[in-house]
Amino acid sequence: AEDMRIALVVKALGIGFFEAAAKGAEEAAEELGDVEIIYTGPTDTTAEGQIEVINSLIAQQVDAIAISANDTDALVPTLKKAMQRGITVISWDSGVAPEGRQMHLNPSSNPLIGNMIIKLAADELPEGGEVAVLSATTTSTNQNIWIEEMNKVMDNYPGVEVVATVYGDDLADKSYREAQGLMQSYPDLDAIIAPTSVGIVAAAQAVVDAGKVGEVNVTGLGLPSEMAGAIESGASKSFAIWNPIDLGYSATMIAHALASGEAEAEPGAEIPMGRMGSLTLDENNQGAMADPFVYDESNIDEFKSIF
């Protein structure tokens, strides 16, 4: 039979996190045997760019689209069109509004992540202190949700105060400058939380350059390969991430299951994800893959060559 074509659409090509996810997708394809992966995405993180990509995927009549969205709402009409033309659409990592997809795969549960990022900072601050958030773009869906979840649990960390939230737009230089600005405006700053793999690297570099290693701890979500240096220099004590390879693998497995009719996307359904077990959907047709994993001095060397 003809191969099933599954498109893995990412926020932008070239980001280490998504390259790793693509690896996972290929792994899943190999395991499934009759699947061809189309790894694609725009070159900059815009919704318009993703729409053009999706349009060409619709034209190619792919069987499934698994997307990490640059915008919750803007992709809905196009993805609806895809579904009307019989294409299975799921979102993963960064979600699309429910009308625009059949289901959403969260890398982890949002409350867990929100709690994790503040906990990583707070664990180093037994006396409490000032922390600031360096986010990606102002429109990034998942960052905004995590920060929201984080704010919900702030009461559990008395003495720790979030003094500012700034945006580095997932650009290294802008993130760097924002981090610098934070350190200048808040001379007593104790930690920078960057729930983005671009921001966390830039913030660590800024801390090193400002000579504030040991004073300002950088934490958040990052890739071991990119953060190895920061852990080594001490700019970052620890950070977390789920395994992007697993994420790409799971998204592919789910897309395959839905497209082949093996599973149905409806509240309460259990969808098989190969070696990752199965995913249970909640009332919004969402599910969480796994808990985030913490990396520090003790295990960084083991993972830095993997992703």
């Binding site: 090509l13 189309i38 694609t40 995405g41 725009p42 070159t43 900059d44 815009t46 919704a47 318009e48 760019g49 729409i51 053009e52 990509v53 349009n55 060409s56 619709i58 034209a59 190619q60 009549q61 915008d71 919750t72 709402d73 803007a74 809905v76 009409p77 773009t137 102002t138 429109t139 905004n144 945006y167």
Partner: protein
């Protein structure tokens, strides 16, 4: 100390040396049309999905909104000015419409607000350029940041949604079979702008101004008024594009349409409009819109990343201008 000659009757001067047909055949547009046809053929050979009415119809969305602005931009560039703030006008107009939705404004009201915002932005640029005599490239680099900046101030990290369902027609509706509303609008505007530029006194004034604004003023043309009108038109078209794009996306974020200004300028220049002003045609811009749409769609079907497509567009832009000149040099 002057002399007189015997009252000489003037010599006969022929109207033209070259027939208009000959001129047309040797024109930029013919060259570009050949390029477009070549790309079309290449695309149909390269991908089995290309020759499909619905796919081709979907592909037109890649350029219709940009081309609407491109038409007005062509006139503006021919007159010797430029507007780099168009994409930011889209953002501001979209933001204004989004805000209005929150107050329960209906579709007709939204359309008026979108167009009105475009006009106001166009007037802002127009006043700075024509009244204060500032260079348009600089003014619109400034207003590019300003207009989008206002969107960011209003929206921050929020988005506007909840557009009425009837509003979806502009970006998602079809007038007949595969002909989308946007494509129909594009076609109608192409004709309107073609006539305006090539068949009216206004168009003639635009060319005169682009070639020599001082000379045009000394010839009794109201140069500032014409330029101001062109800025208004460009703003209006940006407002119109904002309506279509917002309707197509169904939501508004301040980053909407980011980077479009350069794509639109590229389209216009590829269409043979001289960036220095004074020459260019609407048919050229229409063909250029198709060329760019075909290139992105064709390469998209092969899953070529967008940045590689932009290499092709960049190379086309330089190549299509450079090749005839190289050819002429080589023959000389």
């Amino acid at each position: 100390m002057t002399t007189t000659t015997d009252a000489s009757t003037g010599r006969h001067i022929p109207d033209r040396l070259r027939s208009p047909l000959e001129a047309r055949l040797k024109s930029w547009e013919s060259l570009l049309l050949l390029v477009a046809i070549a790309i079309f053929i290449a695309n149909s050979l390269a991908s089995p999905y290309f020759l499909n009415a619905w796919n081709l119809s979907d592909a037109t969305f890649n350029f219709t909104e940009k081309a609407m602005i491109g038409f007005a931009m062509a006139l503006l560039i021919i007159s010797g000015e430029i507007d780099l703030s168009v994409a930011s006008i889209i953002a501001l107009a979209s933001t204004a419409m989004g805000a209005a939705v929150q107050f329960g404004v209906g579709t007709p009201g939204l359309v008026l607000i979108g167009l009105g915002t475009g006009l106001i932005c166009g007037a802002f640029n127009g006043v700075l350029v024509t009244r204060m005599g500032l260079p348009s490239i600089v003014v619109t680099i400034g207003s590019m940041s300003l207009f989008r900046g206002i969107s960011y101030i209003v929206l921050g990290d929020q988005a506007y949604g909840g557009y009425p369902s009837s509003f979806a027609f502009f970006g998602q509706g079809y007038v007949w079979w595969v002909i989308s509303f946007e494509f129909a609008l594009f076609a109608v505007l192409a004709v309107i702008y073609g006539v305006l530029l090539h068949k009216t006194n206004f168009g003639r004034a635009v060319y005169a101004i682009g070639n020599n604004a001082t000379g045009a003023m000394f010839s009794g043309i109201r140069v500032e008024r014409v330029k101001f009108t062109l800025f208004l038109l460009t703003g209006l078209m940006s407002g119109l594009a904002a309506i279509c794009l917002t309707s197509r996306l169904g939501s508004t974020r301040p980053s909407i349409g980011f980077g479009w200004e350069l794509e639109i300028v590229t389209m216009v220049v590829l269409g043979g409009v001289s960036i220095l002003g004074g020459s260019g045609t609407i048919p050229g811009v229409v063909i250029a819109a198709f060329v760019m749409g075909l290139v992105t769609f064709g390469l998209g079907l092969l899953n070529v990343p967008g940045i590689v497509m932009s290499i092709v567009i960049g190379a086309l832009l330089i190549g299509v201008i450079a090749l005839p000149r190289l050819w002429a040099k080589w023959r000389a």
